[in-house]
Symmetry: C3
Subunit: 319 residues, 3 copies
């Protein structure tokens, strides 16, 4: 329970299975405090949310997590409202803001921004999305949702549908899932398959995975259908985009071919990858997924920032 105390969370690659289970245990304890009551665990602590790109879910759930734990929040929601508008570098911003807070939650468009910030800062840095590759807390909340909704992660058939090449959340998720004993099905247009390095990593770890172009073939087998956006700007030919987009849309009639107890997840925001009539299906779990995200972030912040005695007491009293 103290393995993250004072630590950065930069990449899902820094997590092993044991640490992920620790975070899930913390998240589960936090479910008791995630609605309307809260804790004093982080009273007096300040989190800085430095968001150089817009975000609803990630920023608001980190902030809500901090408030539920009794802490405070400073920060900015776009580069324009900060000294970046006057030409300040990320390094200088970090070396300044670390003096005002107890941890930094950073979203930045550049690859490696969170890593750089973590190296520079004397306070813990949590990566809330940097560049196209890493979004570790999203992966943690995704898998926590699976565990909470299906009772386990090992042994599941998990399908990931959409843009597997450019989606920021996919990379972190696949790496995290590779620590579990799962079968992975990747459903995408041929041009949007996993990047080579991730594919190789999966092989090295002995994870079973297959590619599909047609979601209908595989959907009856899936326990988890994880949907990500296919972005128009990835296609040189707009007509090709329109053709492809339709085939990966999750509709109510498609879901009628799925297991009755499968779950549908999405990192959100969705545009139209999941049609609205799916929302009322019992398998639709992408909104409660945001709630689990709050609990997971409360757990994570507690493990990083809480006084060890207080944390121990909370954990034992919750057993």
């Amino acid at each position: 329970m103290f393995n993250l105390h004072g630590k950065d969370v930069v990449s899902i690659l820094d997590f092993n299975r044991e640490l992920i289970e620790d975070v899930f245990n913390a998240a589960y304890i936090m479910e008791k405090y995630a609605r309307g009551v809260g804790l004093n665990l982080l009273k007096g602590k300040i989190m800085a949310t430095l968001f150089f790109e817009p975000s609803t879910r990630t920023r608001l759930s980190f902030e809500s997590a901090m408030y539920r734990l009794g802490g405070s929040v400073i920060g900015f929601t776009s580069a324009e409202a900060s000294s970046v508008a006057k030409g300040e570098t990320l390094s200088d911003t970090i070396k300044t803001v670390e003096n005002y807070c107890d941890c930094i939650v950073l979203r930045h468009p550049a690859e490696g921004a969170a890593k750089l910030a973590a190296e520079l800062a004397n306070v813990p840095v949590i990566n809330a999305g940097s560049g196209a590759q890493e979004h570790p807390t999203q992966a943690l909340l995704d898998i926590y949702t699976i565990k909470r909704e299906l009772g386990r992660v090992d042994g599941l058939e998990i399908g990931i549908v959409g843009d597997l090449k450019y989606g920021r959340t996919v990379h972190s998720l696949v790496y995290a899932l590779s620590l579990f004993n799962v079968n992975l099905s990747f459903v995408s247009p041929p041009g949007l398959r996993l990047r080579d390095e991730i594919e190789e990593d999966l092989r090295r770890k002995g994870i079973e995975f297959k590619y599909y172009e047609d979601i209908e073939k595989i959907i009856p087998n899936l326990d988890v259908i994880y949907v990500v956006r296919i972005q128009k700007e990835r296609f040189p030919d707009p007509a090709e985009y329109l053709r492809v987009k339709g085939s990966y849309k999750i509709t109510s009639s498609l879901i009628s071919k799925a297991k009755s107890n499968c779950i549908i997840l999405h990192p959100l925001p969705r545009v139209d990858e999941i049609s609205l009539d799916v929302d009322s299906r019992p398998q639709a779990k992408y909104f409660i997924q945001t709630y689990y995200g709050l609990c997971m972030r409360m757990g994570l912040l507690s493990m990083i920032l809480a006084n060890k005695e207080d944390l121990k007491q909370l954990f034992y009293s919750s057993k």
Copy 2:
């Protein structure tokens, strides 16, 4: 005092006179805590302020109210800083954010946005202005100001001056005033009179009202002069706008014809509907009106969110 517990505040039409008086009682109690000390009544509670349009008064007074009551605030101040920038619908934003908070305060340019949000969310939704028609908490604070400054609402002569057709605050205010025993004078250019449906509603309720084009005729009779902006963009002919605008401007010399104990209100922001030399007149109450707005919103939030036992204790101890 528990009639709003866990409830939405979408439209002033949902209020009857008794409920308005309840809110006023709560607001009055809050005057003791609205400056510099505060309460712990909403400790641990989180309010989300989702503002899709700019606002100073409404947003800051809701946030101040929440802090004075011991709670916390998350949110955004423009659509650009949220996932709306990535194409997310209002529904998806609401179904996400409800998981992070205990109530949602929403301002949105679309008619019916607050109603939709209230139907979707499991937490109470407070309408902080949606579309051109509804701004219920503004109406409540307007009438609370009248009550506090003049000691009563019934029996008063109330004049509403300016754009009665498009002003968001006018509609909610007129509906709310129709629950009291007042005489209404509407002063506007012919093209900016009340919408038909509101006029009919007033007739049905037996409320006395008259139209005037010339404010000088009626001003000596008024107890309350409520001024709203006339917006340039409502006039096809800019020359017509300039001509009309001048006639509805409240000046110090105009006020010298008014009752010495009348009060001048304005929802603010003003542009130049009230000249600056009116500010020092004793009748000018549009700034203290913002203070009453804070107290009223503290009362409202308490009624909606506070633990019933705590609320009861506060109310009884304040008698």
Copy 3:
């Protein structure tokens, strides 16, 4: 210790040496509480940060200071998110917001904005930068950093390098330093020397100062090297700018000619006035300067807002 109780902080001209020392004493006490624990001194108090211009350091450090002291914060970070976008004047914004808070921290592009706000508001107003001339809390934190890092201010050789004419921080700093017994060296291109009125003021106070164009000549004598930006847009001829810029850049090789125990300060953000390799020099103090800024602002807010009894107790218990 009570000399700022309920007072505005508009201009450094309102400070005498005794008051500055009081603020430094308060800042020093706050160093104990500036990291991770905090105080309840301002519990229930609300600070409004009204930033009409972007800022990282000033806004975030004021907000952090308020949270470390147990208070809350409302506000906006750009004019666009407020009613200014609808044409509201600064006066009306101030006369509104004062009803929602216990003090206002204002940054505004207009000269005299803070003075105007202070005259209007019934709550204390702190100038966080107005127009090109005044930024009093920056000057206080600059000198506090000198005192903390060098143990004293009197008797030091202080060089100010860069744009002395337009830099907002320079004016407040020079006035504040004139209350101490220092020798000042001003290093700038001829066209960017101090404004006449400041120069005269220094003479009147009997402060020793000299102008230099070449930093190499004076650097071996300096105890403090205070660097400010030279902005391109001040030069009619871009070629002249490029020529001049290079001569005022602080590099590691330049610093090797300086005293080993001198300190380099900068109000930040820097663009490239100090090269990155200087950051690792022991003389580089511009990041810890931001930390001292937090402590100084905590001290200042306490002196202005805290209950006198609580403040007295804190001060005596800290002796």
